[in-house]
Symmetry: C2
Subunit: 323 residues, 2 copies
Amino acid sequence: MTKKQASDIAALIKKSHSILLTTHINPDGDGLGSGSALVSVLSKMGKKVDFINRDPLPDIYRFLPSSGKIKNINKVKGCYDLAIFLECPDLARNGHIIDHIKQAKRTINIDHHLGNVMYGDLNVVEPKAAAVGMQLYQFMQFNGWKISKDVACGLYTAIVTDTGSFAYSNTSPEVHQVTAELIKAGANPNQISGEVYATTLSSTRLMAKMLTALKFEGKAAWSVVTKKMFKETGAKESDTDNFINSIRSIRGVDIAVLFKEVTADSVKVSFRSKHGVDVNMIATELNGGGHKYASGCFIKKPVKEAEKLVISEIRKYFKTRKK
Amino acid sequence: MTKKQASDIAALIKKSHSILLTTHINPDGDGLGSGSALVSVLSKMGKKVDFINRDPLPDIYRFLPSSGKIKNINKVKGCYDLAIFLECPDLARNGHIIDHIKQAKRTINIDHHLGNVMYGDLNVVEPKAAAVGMQLYQFMQFNGWKISKDVACGLYTAIVTDTGSFAYSNTSPEVHQVTAELIKAGANPNQISGEVYATTLSSTRLMAKMLTALKFEGKAAWSVVTKKMFKETGAKESDTDNFINSIRSIRGVDIAVLFKEVTADSVKVSFRSKHGVDVNMIATELNGGGHKYASGCFIKKPVKEAEKLVISEIRKYFKTRKK
């Protein structure tokens, strides 16, 4: 974020009384932590702030300072002086809950995704930023805004989740420098990590079943979560968010695949890879897509047939690659 | 570390030609990463350096820059000008592999454990240091030693493992500031985390069995790893180091217990707790001990009897606590 952008955002906030904050569907720690930080700071400034998302707050984020004020609905009502979109590369990703032309006099789009379509009146899009939380920290620094304990907690949550606990390749020296300042300002790493990485008994039971069903061939390993497993354990879909990492982290596994049964005839497939293996190529063959090391697809087949299809695509990939 | 201590260490190193480095039994990321960093820097200074430990290097640390030079033996031979003990509160913890009075002209003891018995000629014991790696970073800073990429990799490994990926309560702002500098010096967070947190297929299979055997009662949850499970999966004891954290991180679980069958008639029991629950009190009742949130004991009974005994102690603890 440039100093100019930071002062432009501050000017828009200053002249706005009612402000809408919103993030993407299936909200994550970056969107929710960043939004929570903004709720804290804007409320203190006397603004009327609403933080509205299409999807509900996952339980692991209930500890966020302003979590009680986060609403989830399908359509935003009324008109705001200003709408701030956090981590939404386009309006579909936000879930189309607001007609941002009619329902907001001004729109700010703060994001770190490549391919953001620049739909705001002011667009601060920085693919190199590790998290929107990093962008907001800079924004507050440029404007000399004090980081309260609540703001620090929100921004820390944004950063710790979007960097995979400081392990992903987006973890720059700057990420650690900002994190040091957030801890000084009152963020509690131990408490926040405990909340964000807490599991549930039902998700642990599901994890046990998923790991028991693990299969492997060559440099690929995969497993399934079926509707029956969900029923037997009482786990929710969101409980499986990190499951694929337990497969990916196995030494010797370069492609990890997780099959989630959606209906008796359809499966959501997630891919993760390492050591140069490009799962985006495999997902694309199956009408899906994503990134080199993380992608996915949707297959309209029963889970066992989907498994065969995917494994044959993986075999093809490795054969072609060797040539 | 004070500037005086740092310059005293540097002076002892300067006048020594042969230097022995060593860490504790069952060496961890802090001892090995710190030692690896010292091997790099002392070798470059032209010193004859041996890094010798009683127990072998776990596979996950083979990526360390000087891992090929790390030896494990039961008795150190010969006499060194200087021995540097890393993370050894006493000589038993080092495995008694060296008679430090006869086999080293001078001894330096660098540690961050409460209860270090100050057995060195020079003792730098700082319980507030998050890792010995943090102490070594300060030492090099005070002396103006350049942090090479290899040194940065070793110190980063020390810090990331001893802070639980920057999540334990020892994660101070200073930890993040130092980490930022280590990344600038060439440490690769993504690569190192990938190595250190890599699992194996056999440990994943054992984890599946352990999680399947999970039981709970009130705020306690526990599981077992039996000799049969080890045999069926081919996993090693060291593979189970992080298992108890999967139990501890379950929401609502304040006491996590893991029973590891050692023989048909003996069990190693590990305790972890949160939310103020003091497992040291429970372990002490069972002739073990440790810390408030992490302790253990050894029970000479078959695993099922040990389980009954421990659970009854936990029930007693909660009853007494409520009064």
